[in-house]
């Protein structure tokens, strides 16, 4: 590669010195230039976290644009979304990008979490990185749930009614939680207000804070090396420089994703298959519910599992039993860095990997059967 002319190089150095004198960025540059990424058969998994963040950034950008026209309320939400997609220049594209990137973000976040799980990257000292990552996925799912109601159409209204109705199954406090979430006994304009506040203020603030913590951990601890590297000779280990080699690859993947996103948003502005968000008819609480009410695809496994449970299991209602069981499963999943003792010794853990496979199989089977069984 041809080197830059001496004059240009000199000008850059002067600019860098000018900035460094004010912001002290030399330390950061030194740190970045020493940061490396392990190179092995599963290095591709390292890109999933960055990709999730890229999709989140698209969410933020398109969300801010939608916010300029969206008006929460039972009398204005549907009308404003209709206005956005039919009257506002490129409004349809912004809504479509927002919806597609939301779905892709959750998909990539799930993949990120499972690859971290199966590579045991949660092992010490990365327990807190794991916790913050699981929290981010939880927040992303809450983003999806709260955003789904905002268009206030028939589909979102009834799905939210069913989704929030599950709160009822929580023992003792279910009824109160339901009222707090809905802003009353039923899904009404008050619910839109709450979900809107959650979606555009509370969740973004929380997500940004947890994401900052998550990134801080990742930067300070570096990328997790495979378990097998513990016994590998130092000269056999291969690394790639984070800057610019890994970062450029990250950017390349982001560009490819942006291209795919643009293609999806233009060709399928209302989504396709099980991932769809047509505006349809305005929500009418007095209308009969649609024949088939389904949640978003990422909630389907839980919805289907609860649906398949009998009315009563032991001394609990079916839904209560299901919620207790899934909560326990979630808690075990969250606490895996502490439960997987072998990983602390840099050993692989067949039992916990088996547990992970069962969880993935459960999610896949329940999700697929949810769409196949009416």
């Amino acid at each position: 590669m041809a080197s830059l002319p001496a004059e240009t190089s000199d000008r850059r150095q002067r600019l860098f010195k000018w900035i460094d004198a004010r912001l002290k960025i030399q330390d950061l540059v030194d740190y970045m230039s020493h940061k490396v990424v392990p190179l092995h058969g599963h290095s591709i998994f390292y890109y999933l976290g960055g990709l999730t963040m890229f999709l989140f950034l698209i969410q933020v950008a398109t969300g801010i644009l939608l916010l300029m026209y969206y008006r929460p309320g039972a009398d204005s939400a549907y009308e404003s979304v209709k206005f956005i997609i039919s009257e506002v220049s490129f409004g349809w594209l912004i809504r479509s990008l927002h919806s597609w990137s939301a779905n892709l973000m959750i998909l990539v976040a799930f993949l990120h979490m499972f690859t971290v799980f199966f590579t045991q990257a949660y092992r010490p000292p990365r327990e807190l990185t794991w916790f913050s990552g699981v929290a981010l996925l939880g927040l992303a799912l809450t983003f999806g749930f709260s955003g789904y109601l905002l268009p206030w159409n028939e589909l979102s209204y009834f799905a939210t009614r069913v989704g929030t109705g599950m709160m009822h199954a929580i023992p003792f406090v279910g009824q109160y939680l339901l009222a707090i979430l809905r802003g009353g006994e039923e899904v009404t304009g008050a619910t839109i207000g709450r979900f809107f506040g959650l979606h555009v203020a509370i969740l973004p603030a929380l997500f940004t804070a947890v994401l900052a913590i998550h990134l801080l951990f990742v930067q300070r601890q570096g990328m997790s090396e495979p378990v097998s590297w513990h016994v590998k000779a130092a000269d056999k280990k291969k690394y790639m420089k984070f800057f610019p080699n890994f970062l450029y690859r990250d950017l390349l993947l982001w560009l490819v994703t942006l291209n795919v996103l643009a293609l999806l948003a233009v060709v399928f502005p209302d989504g396709v298959g099980v991932v769809h968000w047509p505006l349809g008819a305005k929500a009418d609480p007095f209308a009969p519910p649609p024949e088939v009410i389904r949640p978003e695809w990422y909630f389907m496994f839980a919805f289907q599992a609860l649906k398949l449970l009998p009315a009563r299991v032991l001394f609990l209602e079916g839904e209560q039993f299901g919620l207790v069981l899934m909560s326990l499963g979630g808690l075990i999943w969250l606490l895996i860095p502490f439960l997987d003792k072998r990983s602390k010794r840099n050993e692989s853990s067949p039992m916990w990997m088996g547990f992970g496979i069962v969880v993935v199989a459960f999610i896949l089977v329940m999700t697929i059967s949810g769409y196949l069984i009416k």
């Binding site: 997609i85 039919s86 594209l93 450029y248 690859r249 942006l258 291209n259 643009a262 293609l263 233009v266």
Partner: protein
């Protein structure tokens, strides 16, 4: 109680449960019969029992003793049925107590009906009485789907006698009314669209005072629903011309039981078109020209509507949002409905404002649909250009990465 829930029958009120009539008759009947049917009867549901109509003592289990008991009325003969039912239904005090919203003039009206006149004046035992239409022991509220007087069942109820050629032979009236009605625009509204507000037999002929409407009363019958058309017709030149020839107003063009769907294809002088029944091209009046102009006005608008619908469909299959222009299309449908009503003035000038309005709206719909189709291609081009740019950037970055990875000399 449990058994009645399981069998789907309503629970028996106390009075009927204690009735010995039901106990014995249920044993004597197989699966059907008065005692079985009565559980579906509105009188039973209101708490009345067998003795309220038939008299006698309902607590006695010996039939001879029942017949000898006080108030025994037994089973009325066919010609006695109207008075038998009227005993309660014409009693204002009694009906006020049981069902104050029900009129009490059914018997009086029945006596004025063709059925009633033949029964009471000619002693014709075949004519319809209360039980012919309402049944004897399974009488239902007309709002209930199983009731013989529910609008959806009325054509079959009337047709039970009026479609029976052998039964009606001696009266010399047609027996194809039900068949014609089922194929008519009204019949299709009731049976296919399930629109129970559409007229059935009794809406034109009356209920208890049933009679065929005469030529002079037809405007009132059809005009009950088609008020605008009736008003326009009365002010039109056809009103006096038809009256002078003794022709019934609506029926002359539209028929009666088999009224077809009105379209502008009926306007014209060719065979099969209505105007040609009386008018001819060389009759020496302005009518043939008016007829041609009216038809042309309809054709220009319907062609424009067809083109608009085609364009809207083209936009819709491309995934564009067409709800607004679909609403605008519905507006044109309204214009067409007004235009069809205005035909009854038989004056082309009354159609022109509607046709002009409809054509303007149609042009707006076509422009909207064309803009959406243009937008669709604009989006595709935009996607193509942005994809090329992003791909170019990605390739440049890829080359940069390869250059970085290449071992330095």
């Amino acid at each position: 109680m449990v058994l009645s829930i399981v069998l789907g029958a309503p629970a028996m009120p106390q009075s009927a449960k204690q009735s010995q009539c039901v106990v014995c008759h249920m044993e004597m009947e197989s699966d059907t019969g008065p005692a079985h049917d009565f559980s579906f009867d509105i009188h039973f549901q209101k708490g009345l029992g067998c003795a309220d109509c038939h008299g006698g003592d309902p607590d006695v289990d010996d039939m001879d003793k029942v017949r000898a008991s006080a108030g025994w009325r037994g089973v009325p003969g066919r010609s006695a049925v109207p008075e038998f039912c009227g005993r309660c239904h014409s009693d204002a005090g009694y009906m006020h107590e049981h069902n104050p919203r029900l009129p009490i003039d059914q018997l009086d009206k029945y006596k004025t009906s063709v059925h009633g006149q033949r029964l009471f004046q000619k002693g014709d035992p075949k004519v319809a009485t209360c039980v012919s239409c309402h049944t004897a022991h399974k009488i239902g509220d007309a709002a209930m789907p199983h009731s013989t007087t529910n609008p959806a069942n009325i054509p079959s109820t009337c047709g039970a006698c009026h479609s029976n050629a052998a039964f009606m032979a001696e009266y010399g009236i047609p027996t194809d009314q039900e068949e014609l009605y089922r194929e008519s625009v009204h019949g299709k509204a009731v049976f296919i669209k399930k629109d129970l507000t559409a007229p059935v037999c009794n809406d034109c002929h009356g209920n208890h005072g049933a009679a065929p409407p005469g030529a002079s009363s037809l405007s009132a019958v059809c005009g009950m629903c088609h008020a605008i058309e009736a008003d326009l017709y009365v002010s039109s030149p056809h009103f006096e011309a038809f009256a002078a020839q003794g022709l019934p107003m609506c029926e002359t063009c539209h028929g009666n039981h088999g009224i077809g769907t009105p379209t502008h294809a009926l306007i014209g002088l060719r065979e099969g078109q209505l105007c040609g029944n009386c008018h001819s091209p060389g009759e020496g009046t302005t009518a043939p020209q008016q007829i041609d102009s009216m038809r042309a006005a309809f054709e220009s608008l319907t062609e424009a509507v067809d083109s608009s619908q085609h364009l809207v469909s083209e936009a819709a299959v491309r995934g564009m949002m067409v709800t607004d222009i679909e609403f605008a299309l519905k507006d044109i449908d309204q214009v067409l409905i007004h235009m069809r009503s205005s035909v009854h003035a038989f004056d082309v000038d009354s159609l022109i404002p509607y046709a002009t309005d409809g054509l303007e709206k149609s042009r707006a719909v076509q422009a909207g649909a064309a803009a959406l189709i243009h937008e669709y291609y604009f989006r595709r081009w935009g996607l193509g250009i942005s994809s090329v740019l992003i791909t170019f950037l990605a390739i440049a970055l890829y080359l940069k990465i390869r250059a970085l990875d290449r071992p330095r000399a």
